[in-house]
């Protein structure tokens, strides 16, 4: 475990009623990293997160947070964690402020000034003395973030944080997590929505049936593959024959008004030049890169 690792999940296994729910899961989150936890519903995301925050026991393996094992020293390990597990359910009959006081009292050293600071940070200043039952879902999410940040944790753990947020709220959250990451606070965020993860995370672990089947940085996701490039031309048949002479090993597909093939970015101008020289009119050239979604479906199915 290196100095820059904030969270380390080591060979964690969870069994419920003799059924293995989580099977030897290992991964680690670095300081200042936004780490995505991606998988279909029921894959074990929430169970894993519940084990990290101490809501569920671990059958095998261990979880280390900032160098402290949660099974050996729970209280110390939890000092470094701030979390929302699914919906941020607060005490509805208390005000937002009273809720924050409640959580602040459970950790030594949180001043009232800090409560005001996080209130300001999540933009709830005007409504903080209203009862939580009068809050919208978005406001509850913000209050959830506020309680998670009270004690300046090293890592934020958010389980499906975008549920119930409108697009503006999601964007706000994303920007906010990025700001925190730049200040050194890591985030572990789970979701089944790929498009969100693509915009939010540095790295993504894909979990399926209780196992991690792939971990990739998002740059790898878009760069390590050739793109499929579509050429729209006036004489598809002729163009196809022509390109086949030059690129014998390529798998070229003919379509109604053009053809498509997989190639590297640098090869696109060369093909265009061949076509133009032979008098074939090129109307458009565009590449269709595979989205994270396609890759995800490819991996999980």
């Amino acid at each position: 475990m290196t100095q820059s690792t904030v969270l380390e999940v080591m060979n964690v296994t969870k069994k419920l009623n003799n059924k293995t729910i989580i099977d030897q899961v290992s991964f680690s989150v670095n300081r200042g990293e936004i780490y995505g936890f991606l998988g279909p519903n029921g894959a074990g995301k929430t169970t894993t997160i519940r084990m990290i925050v101490g809501l569920m026991s671990i059958n095998e393996g261990d979880i280390i947070i900032n160098g402290t094992s949660i099974s050996k020293n729970f209280e110390k390990a939890m000092h470094s964690i701030g979390a929302i597990v699914e919906n941020p359910e607060m005490y509805k009959y208390l005000t937002g402020y009273q809720n924050l006081i409640h959580y602040a009292r459970m950790i030594p050293g949180i001043s009232n000034a800090r409560i005001d600071e996080v209130t300001e940070l999540v933009g709830l200043k005007d409504r903080i003395h209203d009862k939580v039952k009068r809050y919208s879902l978005g406001m509850r999410q913000r209050l959830g973030i506020a309680q998670a940040l009270l004690h300046k944790p090293s890592i934020l753990i958010l389980d499906e944080p975008t549920n119930g947020l409108d697009p503006a709220g999601i964007r706000e959250l994303r920007d906010y997590l990025r700001t925190l990451a730049n200040e050194g606070t890591s985030t572990l965020v789970s979701s089944h929505l790929l498009s969100e993860m693509e915009l939010m995370c540095d790295r993504v672990a894909i979990i399926k049936e209780g196992r991690i089947i792939d971990v990739k940085t998002l740059k790898e996701y878009s760069n390590d593959q050739q793109n499929t490039v579509v050429f729209e031309v006036d004489q598809p048949e002729k163009a196809l024959q022509l390109i086949k002479q030059h690129y014998k090993d390529y798998d070229i597909q003919l379509s109604e008004n053009g053809f498509a093939l997989r190639l590297n970015r640098e090869e696109v101008p060369s093909i265009n030049m061949i076509l133009v020289k032979e008098g074939i009119l090129v109307y458009s050239i565009h590449s269709t890169s595979k989205s994270l979604e396609d890759q995800f479906l490819e991996i999980t199915n």
Partner: protein, 248 residues
């Protein structure tokens, strides 16, 4: 620990039902005073009669004790409560202390308001009163022992069953049927009945001239039985709460 108890107190006193209960006790006493005014009653008589209102406090204690843990599960708030750097056993203990404090407060309120209302509506001199104030307090003392056992039992039910409603209903049923069970056991002269919790909760059975419900029971025996049950209830509550996987 102090902060945890303050938290639990805040959650109790910010609920409307808490203040309804406090108001209810005082209003019932006032109504009683208005009905029995113009009698030969002294304030001690009134305090004595008011001490029977503890049965209302018992009912409320059951509701509160059976919901204080289960409601956190029902409302989902348990998740944000247990991810703090505080061991679960401390959280559970703080809840238990908070209930005892609140019920002690209700008992005290009942005593104090019965004395004040007694002085306002009834004879202040105690010359022709055949009961002493000490015996009234004694009555509260005995009731408190029953109350603590009832609270501890309901509290255990609360930490075993995550459903608020189920915990309350179960606690009530067991509480009320238990007294019937005692009667049946006595009727059948079933000797093991003396180890039954509710055969021992009322220590008034050892007061001068009273007979214990079963032969061979003594004050020491009953206290022993109560302590064993108490430790068992607390142990089960803590064990279940500590081991529980939170999946709400």
């Amino acid at each position: 620990m102090l902060n945890l108890v303050r938290n639990e107190n805040m959650k109790i006193y910010k609920k409307v039902q808490t203040w309804v209960m406090i108001g209810l006790l005082v209003i019932i006493q006032l109504l009683m005073a208005l009905v029995i005014r113009d009698t030969e009653f002294t304030w001690i008589h009134f305090a004595e009669i008011s001490s029977y209102l503890t049965s209302i406090i018992t009912i409320y204690a059951i509701v509160l004790a059976s919901s204080i843990v289960a409601s956190e599960f029902s409302n989902g708030t348990i998740k944000l409560l247990l991810i703090r750097p505080v061991n679960r056993s401390k959280i559970l203990t703080s809840k238990y202390i908070a209930i005892l404090l609140y019920i002690a407060f209700l008992m005290l309120l009942n005593i104090v308001s019965s004395i004040i209302i007694g002085f306002l509506f009834f004879e202040k001199s105690t010359a022709n009163s055949e009961i002493s104030f000490i015996s009234v307090l004694q009555n509260y003392g005995f009731t408190s022992i029953e109350l603590i056992m009832t609270i501890t039992f309901s509290f255990m039910i609360s930490s075993i069953f995550r459903s608020n409603v189920l915990a309350i209903i179960l606690s009530f049923m067991i509480h009320f049927f238990s007294y019937i069970v005692v009667d049946i056991l006595v009727l059948k002269d079933y000797e093991l009945g003396k180890y039954f919790l509710y055969s021992n909760t009322d220590l008034r059975q050892y007061l001068n001239g009273n007979e214990p419900v079963f032969e061979g029971m003594s004050l020491g025996f009953s206290i022993g039985v109560l302590v064993v049950y108490f430790v068992l209830f607390i142990f089960i509550s803590q064990y279940v709460f500590k081991k529980r996987d939170v999946s709400v």
